[in-house]
């Protein structure tokens, strides 16, 4: 299977990301699904779609579990088998992996995969507690740990070991807000200054408000099929050529490295090998910048640079639009927003737009190969996917 397409993406959908007042998760998911259906007139959803996988992290937000069935119901998929996957912030990255397996197994020819989260109607303190559930309860949450706190532990370790600075982290925030300003679906579409990022209030030192991703409502979806059937639905399919998923200890304190997300490294190695591409082949990437330090570490884990060189990569502007390897052209979790369950397939949505030349003002010229990197919790789950123009 090395280098050959695993599956093809024939359509994609994304709701507006932001504070979507008065809407329920299922209604936001329907908005994303409608776009995917409209983009692919040759697809008859009721007849063609044979399975649905939905990433969703928290039933606490809306007091609603059983997300697979709920979403299938609201998009008119009747008796189609619908399954929710939960892997914290990597819920829809894991859903994508499951959907690929469903197609590859031969059990389902056409599969819809997506994710959804409705978060902004809850007070920030509650959202903080729901998000912390992705970490270890008896030895992290119990002792007063928070989610930003876990990434702050990695940031402090990275700064100590490699001389990475708060300024490097702020530069990532500035870059992603600039990219977000070019994305009409992003939650925040305004640029910020380095000074504003550096002087924003401390959340978990050394991480400040502008180092953190946004609490956002949103949904995303993709329609996958076999490479053989893809042209029945579209003239411009995008192939997924590499898929890696890996795990690690639930507690950050037990990990061998605190300056790297080892699960992401392992997943990336598998995906690169399967796709038969090297890091320098990647034209555009969407990485999991739940915190700015997470994006900096992702540069190193994905081998866009060597260990400890993430700071100089952002300093040289190489990950900005126009740079050598533009990262998070959508604005990332930082500016586009992070509706947790929707994030993994929302990353794939952006790569689809880039590889089909539909990314408008944020288009990476001649992008042919793309990558997504989706991390759950502090790194107990990671998925990496590689995409190529068919």
């Amino acid at each position: 299977m090395n280098g050959k397409p695993l599956v093809s993406i024939v359509s994609v959908g994304l709701s507006k990301f932001g504070k979507l007042e008065g809407l329920y998760a299922r209604e936001i998911f329907a908005e994303a699904a409608k776009e995917a259906f409209d983009r692919c007139p040759k697809l008859d959803p009721k007849k063609d779609i044979q399975a649905l996988y939905v990433g969703h992290m928290g039933e606490s937000y809306e007091h609603q579990g059983h997300t697979g069935a709920t979403m299938a119901d609201w998009i008119g998929l009747g008796h189609v088998p619908a399954t929710r996957t939960e892997a914290a912030c990597a819920s829809s990255g894991a859903a994508l992996r499951a959907a690929i397996c469903a197609v590859r197994s031969g059990l389902s020819d056409v599969v819809m995969v997506g994710g959804v989260e409705k978060m902004t109607h809850r007070p920030t303190a509650e959202v903080t507690e729901y998000l912390a559930m992705a970490s270890d309860y008896p030895f992290e949450q119990w002792n007063g740990m928070t989610f930003p706190g876990l990434y702050a532990l990695m940031a402090t370790a990275h700064m100590h070991e490699y001389g990475t600075t708060e300024r490097h982290l702020a530069m990532i925030a500035v870059k992603n807000h600039y990219h977000g300003s070019l994305n009409p679906k992003a939650h925040m579409q305004k640029e910020i200054t380095l000074e504003a990022a550096l002087s924003s209030r401390v959340v978990a030192w050394p991480l400040k408000l502008y180092d953190c991703s946004l609490i956002t409502d949103g949904a995303s979806c993709l329609i996958l099929t076999t490479p053989e059937l893809a042209r029945k639905f579209t003239d411009t399919p995008i192939d997924i050529v590499g898929s890696g998923q890996a795990g690690d200890t639930i507690g950050l304190y037990e990990r061998k490295s605190l300056t790297s997300v080892t699960a992401a490294k392992v997943a990336a190695e598998k995906a690169y090998e399967m796709a038969q591409v090297t890091p320098s082949d990647i034209d555009v990437a969407e990485v999991h910048d739940c915190f700015t330090i997470a994006e900096l570490i992702a540069y190193e884990d994905l081998a866009f640079c060597g260990p400890g060189q993430g700071g100089s990569l952002i300093e040289r502007g190489e990950t900005k639009l126009g740079g050598r390897i533009p990262v998070n052209t959508s604005g990332g979790l930082k500016a586009k927003g992070h509706p947790v369950g929707a994030t993994g397939t929302a990353q794939a949505y952006e790569i689809y737009l880039q590889l089909t030349g539909q990314a408008d003002r944020r288009q990476v010229k001649d992008a042919e190969i793309g990558l997504t990197h989706n991390v759950g919790g502090s790194g107990a789950t990671a998925t990496v996917h590689i995409y190529r123009r068919a």
Partner: protein
């Protein structure tokens, strides 16, 4: 007595309540688990013995939490860090009894077993923390 106690998180915290930091040593492969687990993740043995672990160690990394969960809000800002104990095992805890700006990676810390009663049905675990050694 503790030889027969189950190698569980519940039991770990019972020991903390008694002012002791105990891990579970797998009698088959020798791996020490902190916290203890009932199944060795290395050799899948279920045979363990309790082993006392020195509660002194060095700070590996830390953060200062300013935005805290509801029940910790009155303590914020507070420091939390990962501490590497004498035998290479690591554990996370709050760092108290030291000015926040004096906290440094590499500093020597020891566990403070000072317990606080928790008024809730579950869990009723105590809370340990670290202080300068």
């Amino acid at each position: 007595m503790s030889e027969q106690a189950p190698f569980t998180i519940e039991q770990f915290y019972k020991h903390i309540n008694q002012g002791k930091l105990l891990g579970g040593r797998c009698t088959k492969c020798g791996k020490v688990h902190l916290p203890p687990r009932p199944l060795c993740d290395n050799c899948y043995s279920k045979d363990f013995e309790w082993t006392e672990i020195s509660s002194r160690g060095k700070l590996v990394t830390y953060t200062v939490i300013h935005i805290a969960p509801a029940q910790f809000q009155s303590m914020a800002p507070y420091a939390m860090g990962i501490v590497q104990l004498a035998n290479g095992l690591r554990i996370l805890g709050m760092i108290k009894w030291v000015a926040l700006e004096q906290i440094k990676i590499g500093m020597e810390l020891k566990m403070d077993f000072g317990t606080c009663q928790v008024a809730q049905p579950w869990p009723q675990w105590p809370r340990y923390c670290f202080k300068p050694a």
